[in-house]
């Protein structure tokens, strides 16, 4: 009863294609097979580009547990009230129906690199010629004293978008008047470098409107963070006195939490809080570790094609990869996915392979119509993906420019999600 447990999406072509998967399992003949694990900015993009550009010459299977994908990028804007939850949700329907991708909603739990086979939680097995891992992040056990994943309902991380994001929003809305919101910020490297600080901005925005006497504490192990001057300028201008950012000089790196008592202890001083967002240290999504392609917390890759340094048939994209200078961002994963898709097609069908190019831009919102951005270009060197220069918004920019930057970020969101999901 494999089919009952493997849940397929879509109709017509998609179902037809996915029905055939068990039959060709283990077969050495037929079309080359690519399995993609993880349907986010890296995986969905890679699956779509391979399917689109190979024009049916490659069988593409995308394994993703959730039926509706909520993007981490822009999830802070939902917390701030600028987006509805539904605005950041996307279905895999088009990838199945328009691109003929077998979309399998299941967890990948095993990878056999000797036989090139993926095992799913539902029991079925997927053979591959090339495997693309884009599993995003998991959290390092014991990274924040007193917190583990079982505490995520009391102290949400909300760093994988979806029910965690909704939970954090509900907790914010339920905060007592004049209450305290705390964030435990993560150490480097982590997903979305400006993310925690955009989140603080969005939460401050929400509280200023709904609970203006509330306070925000941020315990941060890092002395500096992404777009720091821009965020601090914005916090001073819009949320003066509301945000207490505690860096390592003041004990921000010495934190423990008690989810039952709802306390956060910073440098020995206990704070009673009403909502606590714990964003622990991160590592590559677990399946990368199971595949045996990680070294430490992340999976090292070759910059030219995002192939794993441990296995030429496996590529690792996005947050999970140790690639060099690119930040762990949705934009970066999408950029890497296209380089990887081209390399995989080239290897499997002999299509032309052009030199790798990467780029990244991260937009953040501070308050209504106050958008900022940072970006850079990258190239593949034998050692790593290396930055070749970039730009960052400036402090003191005009309101018009900030508004244009925010509108541009909305355009980017529409653009990248169309690029991921068709």
């Amino acid at each position: 009863m494999t089919l009952n447990r493997r849940k397929f999406l879509g109709t017509g072509v998609a179902v037809g294609a996915s029905m055939s998967a068990p039959m060709v399992m283990g077969a050495a003949h037929g079309k080359p097979k690519v399995v993609v694990i993880g349907g986010g900015a890296g995986g969905a993009t890679a699956a779509r580009y391979i399917a689109k550009d190979s024009k049916g010459e490659i069988d593409v299977t995308l394994v993703e547990p959730t039926r509706r994908y909520y993007t981490c990028f822009f999830s802070n804007l939902y917390l701030g009230g600028f987006k509805q939850f539904n605005d950041i949700g996307h279905s895999y329907g088009k990838l199945a129906s328009e691109y003929g991708i077998n979309v399998v909603h299941d967890w990948a739990i095993g990878i056999d690199r000797d036989t090139n086979m993926v095992t799913l939680a539902g029991g079925s097995k997927l053979p591959y010629d090339k495997l693309i891992l884009s599993p995003g992040i998991d959290f390092v056990d014991g990274a924040v004293e007193g917190w583990d994943i079982s505490a995520q309902n009391k102290m949400p991380h909300a760093y994988k978008a979806g029910s965690q994001t909704e939970l954090l929003k509900a907790q914010l809305e339920a905060m007592p008047e004049g209450g305290t919101f705390a964030m435990v910020a993560p150490p480097n490297p982590y997903r979305c470098p400006p993310g925690p600080y955009e989140r603080i901005s969005m939460i401050a925005h929400f509280l200023k409107q709904n609970n203006p006497t509330a306070k925000i504490i941020v315990a941060d192990p890092k002395p500096k963070f992404s777009k720091m001057a821009l965020f601090q300028e914005g916090w001073g201008n819009h949320y003066d006195g509301m945000i207490d950012w505690i860096g390592p000089d003041f004990g921000g790196d010495s934190v423990s939490v008690n989810p039952d008592a709802m306390t956060v202890t910073i440098d020995g001083e206990e704070n009673k809080v009403d909502v606590c967002n714990v964003i622990p240290a991160m590592k590559a999504g677990k399946i990368a570790e199971i595949a045996g392609v990680t070294d430490g917390n992340w999976a090292p890759v070759n910059a030219a094609d995002m192939s794993s340094k441990a296995d030429p048939d496996i590529h690792v994209l996005g947050d999970a990869a140790a690639q060099g200078d690119m930040p762990k961002s949705g934009y970066a994963a999408n950029s890497q996915a296209k380089v990887c898709a081209m390399a995989v097609r080239g290897a499997l069908t002999g299509s032309k392979v052009f030199p790798a190019k990467f780029s990244n831009t991260c937009w953040s919102l501070i308050t209504t119509n106050d958008g900022i951005k940072v970006g850079a270009n990258y190239e593949a060197t034998p050692e790593k993906i290396a930055s070749t220069g970039g730009f960052i918004s400036k402090t003191g920019e005009s309101a018009e420019l900030r508004k244009a930057t925010y509108e541009e970020s909305e355009g980017w969101y529409t653009g990248i999600t169309s690029d991921m999901f068709g």
């Binding site: 052009f354 780029s359 018009e400 970020s409 355009g411 980017w412 169309s418």
Partner: protein
């Protein structure tokens, strides 16, 4: 045909730049200003109308006339450092949207370089201190962003362009929808090449586009133009 004409124009223009420039004829320019009059005033008592008043235009920061409500595109260009000198005016008058995407100036453009020079010479007479403006400023020949005709003549490879385009479509939607970010599909190749070179040389203001275009080679820009003129091909 269009390409041939364009190359001819550029040859004349760059020749002009080398030889101390044709100075435009302000008198002839006054006639051309009729085209502008429905929106712009210049001279004593000029006020903002559909477009801003044009006194003191030379050396002025773009988007800086008090009391005039500029488009977002113009504000962005101004923030990026656009100032009005002859070269920028040539480019803007030839095709406003090519220099400032999102400008509200609905003018189809003045293609004839001599007519533009005349018009610019006329506008120069309304600058506050014409004698302080270097002679080269109002009279130097803008050559529409100075794109070398040899660059415009490069035939791009649409297949390479398609690969390169994957970097563009992270933000610009391939179906041509625009939603905070302008559409770049179905552009005439030459306009595309000129626009990207304007970003590459930082004449057009926008940090992301300057970054992206900055590392594109002439061949890569030609290939992107060849692809985007009809991505469905």
């Amino acid at each position: 045909m269009r390409r041939v004409l364009a190359i001819a124009t550029f040859c004349i223009a760059s020749a002009g730049a080398v030889q101390a420039a044709n100075i435009g004829d302000a008198k002839a320019g006054e006639k051309h200003f009729k085209l502008c009059k429905s929106c712009h005033q210049v001279g004593p008592g000029a006020t903002n109308r559909v477009g801003p008043q044009l006194n003191g235009l030379f050396g002025r920061k773009a988007g800086s006339v008090e009391g005039f409500k500029y488009s977002k595109g113009m504000i962005r260009a101004a923030d990026g450092g656009l100032e009005w000198h002859a070269e920028q005016l040539h480019a803007y008058l030839e095709n406003p949207k090519n220099l400032v995407s999102g400008t509200r100036m609905n003018f189809r453009g003045m293609k004839d370089v001599d007519e533009r020079a005349d018009l610019i010479a006329y506008l120069r007479t309304f600058s506050d201190n014409p004698r302080d403006i270097p002679e080269a400023d109002p009279t130097a020949r803008g050559t529409d962003h100075d794109v070398d005709p040899a660059i415009l003549a490069i035939q791009g490879d649409p297949e390479y362009g398609q690969y390169l385009s994957s970097e563009c479509v992270t933000c610009h939607q391939i179906d041509g929808d625009d939603d905070g970010i302008p559409s770049i599909t179905f552009w005439p190749e030459e306009d595309f090449v000129v626009a990207l070179h304007a970003y590459k040389s930082k004449k057009r203001a926008h940090p992301v586009m300057q970054m992206i275009a900055g590392r594109l080679s002439d061949d890569e820009i030609a290939s992107l133009a060849a692809y985007f003129k009809d991505p469905e091909q």
